[in-house]
């Protein structure tokens, strides 16, 4: 068996998160270019602040301003930054203990090269142009001497972004942040699904039969869900079948491609033991019924690829309906 089909799969979602009282305080302060810590019951200052005291479990009673300068407690170097990381060129990750804090925070250090990084190095935050985004309000940290140099030559190096003007404390507290998450995968289908998809590209339907119970699965599955054994015997199937059950869709939704009302049905292909969902077009919705004989309407051949959408929809064949007891056990 050759390598199963695989394709890139990109998923993305913008997580919106409500911050709550403690992180809201911290993030609101960041938007005003200040960094807050919280004093714990043992007197230690945690920066970023804890939401619940590690010893007593109570919310912080006192916020204290820390930094903005601090010292590197530990560091490493990233030669090839990953998508989403604070800087696009090589940079250091560091645990940074801000002045006045007893704990460290994780952030990027824009140091130019690894040999400029060291434990104990003094760093300062470099603020991002945008405020109110959360921890990314701090674009990165940089060596104190670099920050000072840049302050002294405010029109400094060509191509360098100009240090943004210190914003005033925002009128409104920041209560929400949005974190976009994008992930890339190489999605692989099973060997059975590969055969199925390759056959679809030729306008054919292929199922697989379980060697134990004899049931035919379309699309094939990695294992028979009844017996837990691979279903390797391929079965050629026609593109005709019956409607086992259906519903009339009257509700519009985003991405809908057929005008309402229309019928979404469970279609059981002749010779298969598991139904799949598809559209029934070609007759008024109120004429669709359980047991109705249907056939696949394929898209024009030039639009075929290795996907289930090669079948545009199913339409009635006009043959007599199947008897209820012939499909009752497939409901």
């Amino acid at each position: 068996m050759s390598q199963p089909l695989h394709a890139p799969l990109e998923i993305s979602f913008d997580y919106t998160r409500s911050l709550g009282p403690t992180l809201g305080e911290f993030v609101t302060a960041l938007a005003g270019r200040r960094i807050l810590g919280a004093r714990a019951s043992d007197g230690r200052v945690h920066a970023p602040p804890f939401e619940f005291d590690p010893l007593t479990g109570t919310p912080p009673a006192e916020f204290v301003e820390v930094g903005p300068g601090g010292s590197v407690v530990s560091w490493t170097w990233t030669e090839r930054p990953l998508d989403g990381q604070p800087l696009r060129h090589p940079f250091g990750w560091a645990l940074i203990r801000l002045d006045g804090a007893d704990t460290a925070m994780l952030h990027a250090v824009n140091a130019g090269s690894a040999d400029r990084m060291r434990t104990g190095m003094r760093v300062r935050p470099r603020w991002a142009d945008r405020a109110g985004t959360g921890i990314t309000d701090i674009m990165c940290f940089e060596a104190e001497e670099d920050a000072t140099t840049r302050d002294e030559h405010s029109e400094a190096e060509p191509g360098e972004p100009v240090e943004p003007v210190e914003p005033a404390e925002p009128a409104e507290p920041v209560t929400m942040i949005t974190t976009p998450i994008r992930l890339s995968y190489d999605h692989t289908v099973s060997p059975g699904e590969s055969s199925y998809l390759l056959a679809l590209a030729e306008g054919r339907l292929i199922g697989q039969r379980c060697p134990a119970c004899g049931k035919v699965y379309l699309p094939p599955r990695g294992a028979c869900p009844v017996d837990g054994v691979p279903t390797r015997d391929e079965v050629q199937l026609p593109d005709t079948g019956i409607v086992t059950t259906f519903c009339v869709v009257n509700v519009p939704f985003q991405g809908q491609r057929v005008p309402t009302p229309y019928v979404a049905a469970s279609v059981l292909i002749d010779g298969a033991d598991i139904a799949f969902q598809h559209l029934i077009l070609g007759c008024p919705p109120d004429e669709v019924r359980m047991g109705m004989r249907v056939r696949a309407v394929w898209k024009p051949r030039e639009q075929w690829d290795t996907g289930a959408h090669n079948i545009d929809h199913f339409e009635p064949t006009g043959e007599p309906d199947a008897r209820y007891d012939s499909y009752a056990h497939h409901l």
């Binding site: 170097w77 989403g84 990750w93 099973s190 990695g222």
Partner: protein, 370 residues
């Protein structure tokens, strides 16, 4: 209290790029058959099933539901899932037997780590408010931990390389271990694996230490390579365990603990949660220990936290450094440790699993022969 023992274990070969789907069925079906053949059980004998896996790894919703196809769950079975390593699924299975709701239980874990960019996907296990938005990768976080230990004098880069060399030497006898392309280390290490003084090992260490950093101070040999795989462990209660296995691995301690999610508030040179779990489970009695340490320095931290002296045989399988399939590697550690007892090579064995960044959460399972 009911006595519960591990009576069966199987694992899929660790692969760098498995052709399997992310729902694990192709990796799970063969090992279910293997463990049933070895124990004489069938799926109908299993009173409770529990799996460990992650949709973030699969990049799709409810991937563990598709995995249930591998069971052949008809008639319907009693089944559960944890979004954690299969070791925690085993913990749930153990509790299920202790409550009397099952006599035989099966835990499995699976992960196709190679489907996405693993060290980036793992950023999503971090604090979603103040850390994950920066996308710090798992290797960089481990590197911050490794440096702290080096600079406080707790271990050296040579100590770390020695862990890698020993793991790779041990993995020669483990058919499931990841075969690392282009790796000459295994053949360079002398047959007498533990002797740091032997010329072969020293030569090997020099070679390892001459290589470039991946994330300073970590080199490639310090990091578990990305691996796809699956593992399954069967538990049985009392008499049933004795009937099914000549030398069951009786569980005498099974504990898990967690440290703060705040990386900067933890002392990363230690693993208090591992120490607490080990203490409660009786870790220091172990003769052999399978430690789930995805980075070389983490094995050093765990040895200390679990109070394992130099006489303890650590990671005879080669450990996670030679096969770290996400969500299965911790369960495989427990299964490998249990196998040491079942095969008569040890009387007391320890299996350990970790989860989260920089050894944040730790589970210890101590087993013994009777």
């Amino acid at each position: 209290m009911t006595d519960v023992a591990v009576i069966g274990f199987a694992q899929a070969p660790n692969e760098r790029h498995s052709p399997a789907t992310t729902n694990g069925v192709e990796m799970l079906v063969p090992i279910f058959h293997e463990v049933f053949a070895a124990t004489g059980l069938t799926k109908n004998d299993i009173g409770f099933w529990c799996s460990g896996s992650s949709d973030y790894l699969a990049g799709r919703a409810f991937s563990f539901v598709s995995a249930v196809d591998a069971i052949g769950a008809f008639p319907p079975v009693m089944e559960s899932h944890v979004e954690m390593d299969g070791a925690w699924a085993l913990y749930e299975a153990w509790l299920k037997i202790l409550t009397g709701e099952a006599e035989i239980a099966l835990a499995y874990g699976f992960g196709k780590s190679s489907a996405g960019n693993l060290r980036r996907v793992l950023a999503l296990q971090l604090d979603p408010y103040l850390v994950a938005p920066l996308w710090p990768d798992s290797v960089s976080i481990a590197a911050l931990q490794a440096r702290l230990g080096i600079e406080t004098g707790l271990w050296t880069e040579s100590d770390m390389a020695l862990v890698a060399a020993r793991s790779r030497a041990n993995a020669r006898d483990n058919p499931a271990a990841l075969r690392q392309a282009g790796s000459s280390d295994v053949s360079v290490v002398s047959g007498d694996e533990a002797s740091a003084e032997s010329e072969g090992t020293v030569r090997c260490l020099w070679e390892l230490l001459a290589r470039p950093y991946v994330a300073e101070p970590l080199r490639a040999h310090d990091c578990a390579p990305v691996a796809d795989g699956a593992a399954v462990v069967i538990l049985a209660a009392g008499e049933r365990a004795r009937e099914l296995c000549g030398r069951p691995a009786w569980i005498t301690g099974f504990e898990h603990r967690i440290d703060s999610a705040s990386l900067g508030a933890r002392d990363l040179t230690t693993a208090p949660s591992a120490a607490a779990a080990g203490n409660a489970a009786g870790a220091s009695r172990a003769q052999v220990a399978e430690l789930h340490a995805p980075f070389t320095h983490q094995e050093i931290i765990l040895r200390r936290a679990l109070d394992l002296d130099d006489g303890v045989n650590v990671n005879p399988s080669g450990g996670a450094l030679c096969g770290n399939p996400m969500f299965a590697a911790g369960l495989a550690r427990i299964g490998s440790a249990a196998t040491e007892i079942i095969n008569g090579r040890a009387d007391v064995a320890l299996g350990h699993a970790t989860s989260g960044p920089a050894l944040q959460q730790n589970l210890v399972c101590v087993m013994e022969a009777r």
